[in-house]
Every structure is written in structure tokens, then in C-alpha cells.
Amino acid sequence: MDKIKVIIDNREVLVDRGTTILKAAQQIGIDIPTLCHFEVENLKIHNKPGGCRICVVEVVGRRNLAPACVTECMPDMVVRTNSIRVINARRTVLELILSDHPADCLQCAKSGNCELQDLAVRFGIRENPFIGEEHEQSTYQLEVSPSIRRDMNKCIMCRRCETMCNEMQTVGALSAIERGFPAVVSTAFNQHLELSPCTFCGQCVAVCPVGALTEVDHTSKIIRAIADPTKKTVVQVAPAVRVALGEEFGMEPGSIVTGKLTAALKALGFDYVFDTDWSADLTIMEEGTELIGRLTKYLAGDKSVPLPILTSCCPAWVNFFEHQFPDMRDLPSTAKSPQQMFGAIAKSYFAEKIGCKREDMVSVSVMPCLAKKYECSRDEFKVNGNPDVDYSISTRELARLIKMANIDFTALPEAEFDSPLGESTGAAVIFGTTGGVIEAAVRTAYEVITKKPLPKIDFEELRGLEGVRSATIDVDGLKLNIGIAHGLGNARKLLEDIKAGKCQFHAIEIMACPGGCIDGAGQPLHHGNSDIIQARWEAIYRADKEMPIRKSHENPSIQAIYKEYLGEPCGHKSHELLHTHYFDRQTIVEVDVDKK
């Protein structure tokens, strides 16, 4: 592609045709402020409404100021990013946005991590000449769903959430509504999220620059549970948490902090510190067996077998197909997610083992995810109203707890998970990124089907950050067609292909968040930095390589629980504890709307 020359702040830069002024400036280290603009390159996330105008620059020969995020460079263009005209315009834009924004930063959940606050600091805003029409009164009620907290008075209409919900995830729960001061991004009829097609994937929260969309915070409930002498607290930690938590304490992205994380949970006072990786191995036993079962029947000539089998670990994905493809709900594996398998085992097998009543046990999960909060509140995961997992907290909430308890995270000596629900394999840790669940399943399925050891543990063909991927795995002559999608928009493409009979997959892995759990909505905010995603992704596979055992069925603790308690995978006891069923939520939505 031919390069063009532009001059930005008296410096020459050569860029490809079509490059925006913003990108060209970044190439030479000039950081033009942005607010509505949001981009994660390696995950193909783009929000460029050019609406906030904070990025305006002066282009010589052009009468008005140009928004740098959507204006393309032209040959020999001369740009000034810091003239007095530009700075004054940016200040005014910022003052106007702030004139309609609550100034309750001290109590805001986003404080310290808010892009609007950062800009106010950067521009040294000390007073505001403008007062918005609705500044003093709140127009919208605070809404708290099981996962997401929506404070729409803080919405600045950057529409990043709308882009994630509609373009990336194709969920369609959110849209810009109203006009003028009351304009915000909300649901149809401004109704509660639970009555919308929302999957609680939380990608809206992950990109919200301000405090309008945040997670429901359970930190104080956790502190209370730990302090209660009548309760036994059991905590599990998901794979993707260990490759991201360090960022909250200034560590390099991609640092693997499993040992420190375990030590921190013990220092916080949890009675038992266990690993969701353990139940990820258990998931592979159940889901893998289900796959082999369906496949064997199919190969024996039974064409009524529901294939392809779809993974069911991701709760936002489960919500998605229940809402959007309820007629296909016989396809996903009935295996519960690792979080819920863990909860079920903790409050049965483990509770019995330590002689604790389930009501006296508080089961907590630390997840990179916000949909997990919704998942653990589902009625089918409760026994007599008592949930298998009482609270699910995000990676960010755990970081808050650690800071609150004045634990010096980076200086912590490493600790080990407790036994028996703490032992795990490399196959479990890769659940944390797209392609990982199916790779773990293939590692086990191969050895179970062929009864031969895997020639090569690493299935590179299943890895990567492409939105939709496919590979054919040779299982000793049996050609296993695997599909992988991450991001619900990509999942939709695959599902529509299946519906149209256009694909011949045997098994498909789906994760709702782009990149999988490493970019889950509960993770430290990356503010669009794709290097952070890349670093977490690499760390997941490094963590896998570091594990002495890398196949789920070789986990001695998993083998023991089948011998001691569960019997066999997909057996009677397993079905009772580790499998679930799905609902048609399409009708539920319609009925509720009709009632209005």
C-alpha cells in the first residue's frame, strides 16, 4: 500500500492511506485524548461514533476543527493537536459533558479508573461555567440486576456499550433512547435488564468509560461471611483470574500469580481455598464423556443424536441460546459450568467430608466474569433455596478486597491450593481462553477413544484469537470436526450455519466474551489495550505448560472422587449433581412485555 506523508505538530509521519489522524499521531507518540472512541485491535472491536469531540485537532486549510478519531489523513496534511484553539475547544467539550454528569466521584465505583475523571484531571477542571438542565435531579433510577448495576445518570452517550451489545455480541438489549439531556443508552421501554434479551456477558461494563455501567459489588458480603464464626467459607478461583489479577497491583500484564492469589485468599481468611481448575477437569470428564457418547451413537448409525455438541461452560452463552435459539437447546452439553460443578460438589461431597451443613457453608467464586453472578442466582442451582455458589465476585472485586485488607500482594510468598478440590491440570487452566475448553476435551477424548497416549499434547490448530475458527483433528483415523467461536456475534454465525445445515461440526466451543474469559467483563479494565489481551492469552498457555499433569483424566483428585463418590462420568450421581437443563427464555420475554 502506498504511504502518504502528513505533518503533525511539526513532525513528519508516513502512514498508510486510510489511517486516521489519531492513529498517525499515536505512531509518533502523540497522545490525543479520546473518550467515545474505543478500539481493541486484536479482537476487532471498534466504536467510532465520532460523537464526543474531545479529540478535535486543527487541520491547516480546514475551517472547522476535525475529530481526529474519524478523520483520515490526506497527503501533505498539516495538523496541530495542541494549539490554543484546540485546547479551548477540548476544555469546552469536557465542561459540557461534565455539566450533565453527577460529580459524586468520591463514592463512584469507577473512581480512579474512570476515563472522564482522567480527562478532568488532565485538563485541570476546577469549576464549570455550565450547568446542565438535569444536573441537580436524577432522571433515571439506579437499576441493580444480579450482575450489572446501571446508573444511567452517569451515561455520557459514548455508545461503546451499544456497539458491544449490538455489533459485537448481536444481543440487541441496548440502544440509545430519548433525546437531549435525558438521552442515554438503555433497554427497550427502559425496562429492567432481566426483562430484556441481556445475557449478562457484561461486555458493556468492560468498555464503559464512566460509572454508568459497573458490576454488582459483593465485597462487603464476603467480609461479613468470613467474619461470621458460624460459617465455613469455601472459595474457588477461575483460571483466567490468575493471569490478570497482578495487573491490579501494578504487575506486568501476563504475570501468572497463582501462588500469590492463593496466599492472598488465605490471608483474607477463607477457610478453604480451592481451584475452579479442579472442577474444569471434572467438566471435561462429564462433557468429554457426553461427546464420546453422542459421537459413538452417531457413528453407529443413529442420526437422531443431537450434534454438534456445544460447550456449556460459559453462562452468558447459555443465556444467549436460551433467549435467541431456544429451539436448539438440545445441542449444548448438559454439563454444568465449572463454577456450578464446584459449588455442587463443595456443598455435597466436601460438606459431608468436613461435617458441615450446607446452610453453614458460604461458597464463593472468584471469576473473570459478570454472568457468573447471574448464573449462581439461578433457581436450578439451589437446594431448598440455598445456592450452590452463594456469591460470585469478579477479579476486580477480589483486588478491592485485597487492598482493603492491606495485604501487600506483590510481596506475598506463594502458597498452594488446599486439598482435595485444589489439584488441577494444564487442561483446566486453558479454559481461560477461546479454544481452551475444546482443546482440553480433545486431549481427554483422544486418549479415551483410542486408548493410546497422545502423540502431542499441544493442539496449536485450535488456538488463536480469530473470531471463528475450525480444525479437523485426527483421532486415530476418526476425523473430528471442531468449531470455535468467541464473541456472541460469532456464535450467532455458527448457530445460523448449523440451522441451515451448512456445517459438519461434531463439537463446537463457544465463549461469549471476545478472547474468552481472559477478556471477561470481571477482569481488570484494559481500556482498549490489545497488548494486555495478548499477554494474558500467552500467559494461559504458559501456565498450561508449567503444569506437571496436562490432561484432565489424569488428575488424581478427579480419579479419586469418581472412585469414592460419583461412580462414573455421566452416571447417576453425576447427573444429579453435575448436569443441568435449559429453558426457553424467548417466551418469557414476550409474556413480560405483553403484560406492560
Binding site: 449490538n166 440487541g172 440502544s175 433512547i177 430519548e178 427497550a188 434479551p197
Partner: protein
């Protein structure tokens, strides 16, 4: 929703080839026919056009012409155009508001009257004017409003 209303909405969407780009025209069509745009109608339009209901609601809530409130049996429109305005139209509107206990854009709980304001009906010589249904009332003053409303107390 009655099946005939459902069918009519589907027909309107079909007339525009279920094209999402024609959403505003479709909403006009449905509002002309129903008098307002209830949630169920928006849901159905979204379904026909294969777009999220939130998007339809986004457009309905953006334009003040679209309403989710059913119109009363006797829709009242008070002109706030320049000629009427300078001759005291605001006081006329206030009197309607006071008597009916509703704001513009609302309908009385018994469904009898709804109140809106508009800009100029071309009867400036009679300013200030208001319309109830198709009937125009001119040279209004606040003390005449109660009497006019009473005409419709059937």
C-alpha cells in the same frame, strides 16, 4: 393484541419490504392506524424487521411525534403557534391542564380526553384556537374552556 391489529402491522411492514431503513415510515403507518405505538406493536415491528426492540424504542422515544400513550376518545390539540401564542394560548393550555389534570402528551385515566399542543393550524384569524377531534374552537379565553369540555361529557 387482537389478531386483526397484528395482521395490519405485519402488512404495513410488508408494504415497506420489512426494510429496517424504512423504520420511521413504518412507525408513522402503525401510529396512523393505532393512534399510538404500544410496546407490543414495537415488539412486533422489531420482529418483522429483524432488529432489536431496543432500537425501535430508541427511535420512538427520540421523536416527539411518536407516542406510546393511547389517544383519548376526544383528542385535544391546543395551538401554540406564534399568533395564538401572543394572544394567550399558554393560558388556554394551562386551563385544559388544570381541568383535565393531565399534561400535554397524556390521556385522562377514563380515556376520554388526551392533550397535545401543536404549532399553527392555519386559523390565525381566530387565535387563540384549539381543536377537539376535527372541530376547531376559536377566539378562546380561559373562562370558556370548562363549557367546551362539558359539551363532551356524554
Amino acid at each position: 393484541m387482537k389478531p386483526e391489529i397484528r395482521e395490519k402491522i405485519i402488512e404495513i411492514c410488508n408494504n415497506f419490504n420489512n426494510n429496517p431503513g424504512e423504520l420511521i415510515n413504518i412507525l408513522h403507518g402503525v401510529q396512523d392506524f393505532m393512534g399510538y405505538l404500544p410496546a407490543e406493536a414495537q415488539e412486533l415491528i422489531a420482529e418483522c424487521l429483524h432488529i432489536p426492540t431496543a432500537k425501535v424504542y430508541g427511535v420512538v422515544s427520540f421523536y416527539s411525534f411518536f407516542t406510546m400513550m393511547p389517544k383519548g376518545k376526544h383528542p385535544i390539540s391546543v395551538c401554540l403557534g406564534t399568533a395564538c401564542y401572543v394572544r394567550g394560548a399558554e393560558k388556554i393550555l394551562d386551563e385544559f391542564k388544570r381541568i383535565l389534570k393531565i399534561n400535554p402528551g397524556e390521556t385522562t385515566p377514563d380515556g376520554k380526553f388526551s392533550l397535545t399542543s401543536l404549532r399553527c393550524i392555519g386559523a390565525c384569524g381566530l387565535a387563540p384556537v384549539a381543536m377537539i377531534g376535527d372541530k376547531v374552537y376559536g377566539r378562546l379565553s380561559p373562562d370558556k374552556i370548562q363549557g367546551i369540555i362539558d359539551e363532551y361529557k356524554d
